[in-house]
């Protein structure tokens, strides 16, 4: 429950909830595919060209189509009142979270006119036209791989301040030659399995994803307890433990979660930072898991995918393992759900922490709790 103080000293309670969500990933075109793949230990990132280091949508490369699919899932199941509010648009906000958007569509032979406009706004406007949404407020947040949680942070601000009644956070990134070559330059990719927090971890794979999350000041399927973001400048590509810790500490009532879904890229640098922070913050050692072993690193959409996984974990009252990680790095102190772990001991799952780390020293954390009455 978020609190804010008025000039007169009154405390106002805010209940910011997730009303609905949907996604498409390499595990399949629906949220159910994501969840069943995670609990079933299915590594969809393995299906790739050996020279490609990444999984891409096999059937349809169109970003607009994939995101439309995610949005339809998110809106499905909303009550009639919510749908009417969203379709009306007058109190609707839309935030796009993405790192490179549709960059490959124009950057290789870009005209001067194409360089004058960011790669997000044109895509967002065409998406909204096709979805027949006319939001009162819209923009893009591009905070590297912490874009999704950063967008949720801003969405929360809009809702708390009464600027809009509902916000749809759209998150999408597509693996194309630009990001593939870029990550290849950084030597961050692996042709092996993605093994977050493993002793034998060797890097990441990339993956396409699209997600839509509807937030509102209402009762919903999950409650957004808070989002913290923190940026620092120690290094462009190396995360910083203190910054991630500050992001986590900015979440109100930041008690120990029942489950952590970590950023978990399986790079030599990312994973130790998260382990250090979780160990410092939570003496009770909550269970820690991750999703990138299954769907790859979905860049700006990764935080949204992890939030959806968190919602599914609370809905189903079940955690999932890091199915590719048999042996954790012995230097790590966290309690990781390794391959084959008995997850029945994890629960009840009432509170989940999600973390995201991005290039440029940006760190974000979000805490969700089970939906219900205020």
């Amino acid at each position: 429950m978020q609190k804010s103080k008025t000039d007169s000293g009154l405390i106002i309670l805010h209940n910011i909830a997730i009303l609905g969500y949907g996604c498409t990933t390499s595990l399949g075109p629906a949220t159910a595919d994501l969840w069943e793949g995670l609990v079933g230990g299915r590594d969809a990132s393995s299906r790739f060209d050996e020279n490609f280091h990444a999984y891409v949508w096999q059937d349809n490369r169109d970003l607009n189509e994939q995101l439309q699919r995610a949005l339809r899932q998110a809106l499905d199941g909303l009550d009639k009142q919510a749908i009417e509010r969203i379709r009306d648009g007058s109190k609707l906000g839309v935030i796009l979270a993405s790192t490179k958007g549709a960059i490959d569509d124009f950057i290789w032979n870009a005209s001067e006119a194409e360089l004058l406009v960011d790669p997000y706004t044109r895509f967002l406007e065409s998406f909204l036209a096709r979805a027949e949404l006319k939001p009162e407020r819209l923009l893009t947040v591009s905070n590297a791989c912490a874009s999704s949680l950063s967008a949720v942070f801003l969405a929360r601000q809009w809702l708390v301040n009464g600027i809009v009644s509902d916000v749809i956070v759209l998150a999408v990134d597509r693996v194309g030659p630009f990001v593939l070559k870029g990550f290849g330059c950084l030597r961050a990719l692996t042709t092996e399995k993605v093994r977050p927090f493993a002793k034998a971890r060797s890097g990441l794979r990339l993956g396409d994803a699209a997600a839509a999350i509807v937030l509102s000041r209402a009762q919903g399927v999950a409650r957004l307890e808070g989002v913290g973001i923190d940026a620092e400048g120690i290094s462009v590509t190396r995360p910083a433990a203190q910054s991630l810790k500050r992001a986590c500490e900015k979440i109100p009532n930041s008690g120990c979660p029942d489950l952590i879904i970590a950023h978990g890229t399986a790079t030599p640098i990312n994973d130790p930072i998260e382990d250090q922070v979780f160990s410092a913050l939570f003496a009770a050692k909550p269970a820690i898991t991750a999703t990138k072993w299954a769907v790859g690193h979905t860049l700006g959409a990764s935080g949204a995918i992890d939030l959806i996984a968190a919602c599914e974990a609370m809905k189903n009252q079940r955690a999932f393992c890091i199915a590719n990680t048999d042996e954790v790095d012995p230097a790590f102190k966290g309690r990781y759900l390794l391959a084959g772990a008995d997850v029945s001991g994890v629960g009840p799952i009432n509170r989940v922490l999600v973390t995201s780390l991005g290039f440029g020293g940006i760190h974000a954390a979000a805490a969700l709790s089970r939906g219900g009455t205020v």
Binding site: T140, S142, N143, N161, G233, V236, R246
Partner: protein, 212 residues
């Protein structure tokens, strides 16, 4: 009412001399024009004693990182030094090193209204008391291929600021200014007779010397 002070630093890139802060930023010579400009601008403003550090920072990046992206793509897409700058938020990393600052930051895009859009967000943060002082920073290209401008809008509740963001008397449709026009308007030191601009359906900005 939110007070806004505006600072601008014009520079040419590539830089002709090494910056004062070169020891603080590893491989400073690999920064792109935008990262260099934000950092150098801050150093100049700091030396002049004109800026107080913020609690929150917005980065408004017209054209996103398109120019740097095109350089990466055009050079064979093999340079890690170029690739790490192909995200619009990256340009803040060197700035934060020299500022010795950390905190919440949002990189906002909505071309061709990116700067005005970010200003609305920043003003609402201050107005809602989510932060006492918020910065909005932006780098835009100048007239020549090597000319750039770094802009800082420092927002607070000060009544002494050069500009004020206020609620409009009506909530009609807004003619949100495009970045080129808006920056030019901010930068002009004399009143052109147009001392007030709409920012959004609910907000406007005006020069503080004029009556509301």
């Amino acid at each position: 009412m939110v007070g806004v002070d505006h600072f601008v630093y014009r520079y040419r890139f590539p830089a002709a001399v090494e910056p004062r802060w070169k020891a603080q930023v590893e491989r400073w010579y690999q920064l792109d024009a935008y990262a260099y400009g934000l950092t150098q601008a801050y150093d100049v403003w700091r030396a002049s004693g004109v800026v107080d550090k913020p609690e929150f920072l917005f980065l408004a990046s017209p054209e996103a990182s398109n120019r740097t992206d095109a350089q990466f793509a055009g050079s064979g897409a093999s340079s890690p030094q170029k690739f790490v700058h192909t995200l619009p938020n990256i340009r803040s990393a060197s700035l934060f090193q020299v500022m010795e600052w950390s905190g919440p930051m949002l990189c906002i895009q909505k071309d061709p209204h990116t700067v005005a859009t970010a200003l609305v967000e920043a003003a609402e943060f201050v107005g809602a008391q989510a932060a006492e002082r918020v910065w909005l920073m932006s780098v835009v290209r100048g007239r020549g291929a090597e000319d750039f401008e770094a802009h800082l809008l420092s927002l607070s509740r000060s009544s002494q600021a050069a500009f004020r963001v206020e609620k409009k008397g009506h909530s009609g449709l807004a003619a949100t200014p495009a970045d080129n026009y808006f920056i030019s308007w901010l930068s002009s030191k004399v009143s052109s007779g147009n001392d007030e601009l709409e920012l959004s359906r609910h907000l406007k900005i005006r020069r503080a010397l004029t009556k509301g």
